[in-house]
């Protein structure tokens, strides 16, 4: 069973993501800030980390960057939630070495498919 780390400071949104992922039968770890995300990632080494951009403390980008530059963590896939139409966000995601990004608002099904796609590659 895959472990997915979800980091979002927006309760509703986080809940949405979690509920969506539950459908896919993943092990879900929730945090609501960047520091916790990093810590948990280091500890649990999830298969995927879904990070929102706007988070207090460390932003999603920073967390992603940290993960991706840490030799012990860089295998963790990172999916970043960006605001649609913000080119800067996409650029930043790339710069942060994110593997994927999905822009808000997104359809939960869309998210699910994406996750499957990401984790499916690793067979």
């Amino acid at each position: 069973m895959r472990t997915i780390l979800v980091a979002d400071d927006e309760r509703a949104l986080k809940m949405l993501i979690v509920e969506t992922l539950k459908i896919g039968n993943y092990n879900i770890l929730e945090v609501d800030n960047g520091l916790d995300a990093l810590e948990l990632a280091g500890r649990e080494k999830p298969d995927l980390a879904i990070l929102d951009v706007m988070m207090p403390g460390l932003t999603g980008y920073e967390v992603c960057k940290q993960i991706k530059t840490d030799p012990g963590l860089k295998q963790i896939k990172v999916l970043i939630l960006t605001a649609k139409g913000q080119q800067a966000d996409k650029e930043a995601a790339k710069l942060a070495l994110a593997d994927y990004y999905i822009s808000k608002p997104f359809s939960p099904m869309e998210l699910l498919l994406k996750v499957e796609e990401i984790l499916g590659d690793d067979k």
Partner: protein, 921 residues
């Protein structure tokens, strides 16, 4: 022959003497030979003398001697030889001596004879040394004849010679003469030839005349011009009749009329042109001739005439004349042209003056432009076509004024401007780019540009040192109105502020975008889940509730955001009214009080229950709610929330104090900016739009109040705002008003001053039910008389009246009369001139045509007198407007409102309503 004889004689003598001398011994005269010798001596015909050389004594002489000299021998032998010498006494001795000394043996002397005859003698003397010493034997030769003969001969010869010489001379002379003559002849010939040459080489015809007028000579030209082949044809002929016999027109020219003739007959020089000569062939030609008489010894011996064929000349003259005339014409033209040129010059001068003026204007404009360019706020540099800097404005210097000393010098001395080469330009650019990121690239580009007159270029630069700022640079070619490029301009601006603003905007957009999308995501997501998935009931409930709340959140956010944008752009509308502040606060408390059980809200009224403010109730409620909400949100642990309402300095202060998280000092006023949230772990959970305080700020400021906060981080914050108050204490509105709409008027006497009879009738008709008695008059003078006579309660005045006075004049009189000064006056006029009303102290001003209602109302008002209203008002403009509205509503017409120190004076109707009661500040 004689010479021979003489010579012979001499020889004999000599022989004898020789013989004598050599053969004579010491005895003196040897007899034998001596006698012989002596005899010879005695008998000889030769004259002999023996002389003593020392004394000159004659020792011996012979007979011949005696005979010759005419003395006897004894006489002679007693004489000295000196006495024979025919010389002056003094000389004799000298000669003798001389002869002796010189030992001369042959000499010629002149001897005197006894008869005083003088004979020339030749003497040959021989010394003989005998017993008696040395003696001289002299042989004397009478050569007188010979001499004479010789003389004669000589003379003859001489004469002959002379003759010969003479002849020679003569012949020589003659010869010479001949030669000379020949030479002369030759010369003459040569001269003649030269003369001929000259004559013949002369272009003019020259001929000579004798006294008869016949030709004595003529030169080649003469022949040529006259058309004769040979001079023989002319020589000897009378020239007048040959060539000068006719005038041009064919009429004969008499000799007497011939100038030549006249001239040389009078011995005058004459020079004539204009006559004609006739050629051999009978044709004539115009001639110019000079005639000179030849005068010899005062007599006229002829004349020389030189003439020329002046046909060509005459033609030339004609042409000259024509040319001259043409030139005259041209000259005239030129003079005219000159005049016109002068005129043009004057015009040009004028134009010049105009140009000067325009130049000045241009310079002014240029200065203005310069000033404008200087004040553009951008640094402007201009380059010419060669890439040299031609202009640097002040702003540029200001932008880059941190340069070191040298650079300042460069700028001060306009070093760059004086620089003839591109070096100055490059240096300039390099200096400008000091401390700028990527300057090398930009440098190359800019230097390239100074040589490029076509490209446009713009670049944003970040400067890191010595100042951190952002610069925007653009450079375009300068194109004149005619489309010609005349240089390049470069403009540099400090856009740091702009960049900051842009950055903030971007940030805002990003934030807003995020803030909007987040709730949207939830709404979308959960609703999708609900639609596509089989979910348990509680999930349904939960999800729907989330959807609901997120929708609300979104809505709030959008509303707030729009609100604030509106407020910021000044487009928000506030419905301001009189409100009780305490009441608003209580409402807020009511809303939020129940939300949190953890907090205790305490409201300290401080006896300000009746504190009123002029405000938009809902908006102020929003502010208070915001404060309260924040207080609650940001003290998650609970605690007291204190609300204080106080009054100070004519302002109402409201503060909301919590015991919550507090705000760090660094946040400062940023707290009131959009979406600002202090970032830390505790706050991340706290929701809200982030716009609350920003909106509150806008609202309070729009009400003329102030907003702020104090806080101790970790202990709590106190947010406050203030609003200007309506001074409730002194707000007494004593309105003594009479509702004249309801009550009818009292009986009144009205004077209608109106020149239009129809109008009078109309007014009377309208007011017939008003319980007034009306008089009417059509002119001002009588109106005043009437006014003095009756006590009117009201005047209705038209402006245009019959007679001298108009309505205003009447008004003045009425106001000037104590009896009528307080009587209300209504002006009814065809013209609007409301301005004058207030000054004129009138009740009302009606503009014809007016409605009956209007008139009635106005009359009633007037007759019902003044309104006493006292109000002290705030100087708030809006309050004033409010007042207007209020009063108007109550039927009170406000004429004007004026400030007067702390008091507001409201003029109502026609009386100034002085506000008594409390005066406020």
């Amino acid at each position: 022959m004689k010479i021979a004889i003489k010579t012979g004689k001499i020889f004999i003598g000599l022989f004898l003497l020789g013989f004598l001398l050599t053969s004579a011994p010491q005895t003196g005269y040897a007899h034998a030979e001596s006698i012989d010798c002596y005899e010879i001596f005695e008998e000889h015909g030769t004259i002999l003398l023996v002389v003593d050389p020392l004394t000159g004594n004659i020792l011996h002489v012979n007979q011949a001697a005696a005979g010759f000299y005419g003395y006897t021998v004894e006489q002679l032998e007693a004489m000295k030889i000196q006495s024979l010498i025919a010389l002056p006494v003094g000389e004799v001795e000298a000669v003798f001596r001389e002869i002796m000394e010189q030992d001369r043996h042959n000499f010629i002397l002149e001897h005197r004879l006894a008869n005083n005859e003088i004979r020339t003698v030749e003497i040959n003397s021989y010394p003989y040394t005998g017993e008696k010493g040395t003696m001289l034997v002299a042989i004397v030769n009478d050569i007188t004849n010979r001499v004479l003969l010789e003389k004669k001969e000589a003379t003859l010869i001489g004469i002959l010679f002379a003759i010969v010489i003479l002849l020679l001379a003569i012949s020589l002379l003659f010869f010479n003469n001949i030669k000379k003559q020949q030479k002369q002849n030759k010369e003459i010939q040569s001269i003649k030839e030269d003369l001929h040459l000259i004559l013949d080489s002369a272009a003019e015809g020259i001929y000579g005349l004798d006294t008869d007028g016949n030709c004595t000579f003529c030169n080649a030209s003469c022949l040529k011009i006259l058309g004769y082949a040979d001079e023989k044809e002319l020589l000897g002929k009378n020239m007048h009749w040959q060539i000068h016999y006719q005038k041009e027109d064919g009429s004969p020219l008499a000799l007497e009329d011939c100038h030549i003739f006249k001239a040389f007959s009078h011995g005058e020089d004459v020079h004539i042109e204009g006559e004609v000569f006739w050629r051999a062939d009978g044709t004539a030609f115009p001639a110019a001739y000079y005639s000179h008489p030849q005068i010899q010894d005062g007599k006229i011996v002829g004349a020389v005439v030189t003439f020329a064929d002046i046909t060509e000349r005459k033609e030339a003259e004609k042409e000259l004349l024509t040319a001259y005339e043409e030139l005259e014409a041209i000259n005239l033209q030129l003079t005219e042209q000159q005049y016109s040129l002068e005129e043009q010059n004057a015009v040009i001068e004028e134009l010049n003056a105009q140009l000067e003026e325009e130049n000045e204007k241009y310079l002014e404009q240029r200065e203005t432009l310069q000033a404008i360019v200087d004040s553009l706020g951008g640094g402007v540099v201009m380059f010419d076509l060669a890439g040299r800097i031609t202009f640097i404005n002040e702003a540029w210097k200001d932008l880059f004024n941190y340069y070191d000393y040298d650079q300042d010098d460069y700028l001060e001395d306009n070093f760059y401007l004086k620089n003839e080469t591109s070096f100055g330009t490059e240096l300039f650019i390099r200096n400008m780019l000091t401390g700028i990121e990527g300057k090398d690239e930009v440098f190359s580009k800019l230097v390239e540009l100074t040589k490029d007159m076509n490209s446009r270029y713009a670049v944003d630069l970040e400067q890191l040192s010595p100042i951190k700022r952002f610069l925007s640079l653009y450079s375009n070619p300068c194109i004149s109105a005619g489309g010609k490029v005349f240089g390049r301009v470069m403009v540099v601006r400090d856009v740091s502020h702009q960049k900051e603003v842009d950055r903030l905007k971007l940030e805002l957009i990003s934030t807003v975008s995020h803030e909007l999308r987040t709730p949207m995501s939830s709404i979308m997501g959960f609703s999708e889940l609900l639609l596509t998935r089989e979910l348990p009931q509680e999930s349904h409930q939960e999800f729907l509730s989330i959807i609901n709340s997120e929708s609300k959140r979104l809505t709030n956010l959008i509303n707030d955001f729009l609100d604030i944008q509106k407020m910021e752009s000044g487009k928000a509308e506030f419905e301001k009214e009189d409100n009780l502040l305490a009441e608003i606060i209580q409402e807020a408390i009511r809303i939020f009080g129940n939300i949190s059980g953890k907090h205790k809200i305490v409201f300290n009224l401080n006896n300000n229950d009746s504190l009123r403010v002029f405000c938009d109730r809902d908006k102020i409620l929003q502010v208070v709610s915001n404060f309260l909400s924040n207080a609650i949100k940001y003290s998650p642990a609970g605690g007291d929330i204190k609300i204080d309402l106080t009054v100070a300095d004519e302002k109402a202060h409201v503060s909301v104090t919590d015991q919550g998280l507090g705000i760090p000092k660094e946040a400062g006023d940023k707290v009131f900016s959009k979406f600002y949230r202090v970032n830390n772990d505790e706050r991340r959970r706290i929701g809200g739009t982030g716009l609350g305080l920003a909106i509150s700020k806008e609202i309070i400021e729009a009400h003329g109040g102030e907003i702020g906060f104090t806080s101790t981080y970790g202990q709590g914050s106190s947010f406050y705002f203030s609003l200007p108050t309506l001074d409730s204490g002194s707000r007494e509105v004593e309105t003594v008003k009479e509702d004249f709409d309801v009550y009818a008027t009292d009986q009144g006497l009205v004077l209608i001053v109106e020149d239009d009879a129809a109008m009078v009738k109309l007014i009377k008709e309208i007011l017939k039910d008003e319980n007034v008695e009306m008089h009417s008059i059509d002119n001002g003078e009588e109106a005043i008389q009437l006014a003095n006579k009756y006590g009117y309660n009201l005047f209705i005045l038209d402006i245009f009246l019959k007679g001298q006075l108009n309505g205003w004049d009447v008004l003045k009189r009425l106001k000037g009369n104590p009896a009528t000064v307080d009587t209300p006056i209504i002006i009814s006029s065809a013209y609007e001139n409301k301005k004058d009303i207030f000054k004129a102290d009138i009740s009302d001003y009606l503009v014809k045509p007016f409605e009956s209602e209007q008139l009635i109302k106005v009359v009633r008002k007037a007759l019902n007198g003044m309104l006493k209203a006292k109000m002290v008002l705030n100087s708030d403009e809006q309050l004033i407007e409010y007042l207007f509205a209020v009063l108007k509503d109550k039927g009170i017409e406000v004429r004007s409102i004026e400030h007067s120190g702390n008091m507001l004076m409201i003029t109502l109707n026609e009386e100034e309503g002085l506000l008594n009661g409390k005066e406020t500040d």
